[in-house]
Symmetry: C2
Subunit: 182 residues, 2 copies
């Protein structure tokens, strides 16, 4: 029985941190191996290639991020509606190690090599659609698609450090979507 975390989990945890912080191309296998305290052969036993680790990273990141985002939105959605989305984003932007959206960054680095990136955005849009339905909005899919545009834009602005008035403007843009005339 292993008292410590498995090698595979330690690798994935390290990848979650380094891939997000420094980017995928900039993070070498050697660095991940060193920081997770794992032998090289153990790494290649669990992940036959770096791309396999990248895929695992994207899937894990998706689960973790969606969980945190959902939780942050649900905390206020009942009272604030779509404004809760802006607040959840703003909390995320304020985290000290915030560096933009891992999936946007991966697409920027690698192009369309990893479909998990687009998949993540589709599932996020599905969740926003569900939120729109819970508000009984007339065209939930259209509202969600527009909200996604606003959300992506807010993430990029935050990533570039252009955060002046960002939370309030994002909130206005999102709540405007819930008024009549979508």
């Amino acid at each position: 029985m292993q008292e410590t975390v498995s090698a595979k989990d330690r690798i994935l945890t390290t990848a979650l941190r380094l891939f997000y912080r420094d980017g995928i191309r900039a993070t070498g296998i050697d660095k991940i191996i060193a920081e997770s305290g794992v032998a090289k052969m153990s790494f290649y036993r669990h992940f036959p290639s770096k791309n396999d680790l990248i895929r695992a990273f994207l899937e894990a990141r998706h689960e973790i991020w969606m969980g945190q985002f959902r939780a942050a939105v649900e905390r206020r959605f009942a009272e604030e509606g779509f404004a809760a989305i802006a607040r959840a984003l703003s909390e995320w932007f304020g985290e000290p190690d915030f560096r933009g959206c891992a999936f946007i960054n991966t697409v920027a680095e690698t192009g369309s090599e990893f479909p998990q990136t687009v998949q993540h955005k589709c599932e996020l849009e599905l969740y926003v659609t569900e939120l729109a339905k819970r508000l009984s909005l007339p065209a939930p899919a259209q509202v969600a698609a527009k909200a996604m545009i606003v959300m992506e834009g807010a993430i990029v602005r935050a990533q570039m450090g252009l955060t002046d008035g960002l939370e309030e403007m994002t909130m206005q843009l999102l709540t405007d979507l819930t008024r009549c005339g979508n």
Copy 2:
């Protein structure tokens, strides 16, 4: 007198193409040298390091992109107002080699190493502010900041291939900003 384009210009032209198409980290000096038909020493005479070329790339890209974007917007702004922005973006998204915004991609790859990226976004926002003023909108700076959020979001959505209904939704989001209640 040189009958052909100078080595420096050939390097920059090649960098504009390769850095945008494949990304900055993924594009090696050797590749730029080979494709621009220049000797390595000529390269390092004009650009002491790769970072110098990256800076020159960002500045050139800014000038070129702004020129094209301005032209595309002005073509319709008098008749269509802010919808002209959505149309200009959509034209860009439709180009066969579109791969997102070079400045967003550079930030995604390199973080905050190159201030030219944020500078570009600030100058673009200034132009949008000017457009808002030309429409005699009450709060042009606020409208422009919101428009920037929408524009960045549209760019990211297009980059990820999520273009279904994108032009129309972007147009609605942007024109809604020009109505009363900011």
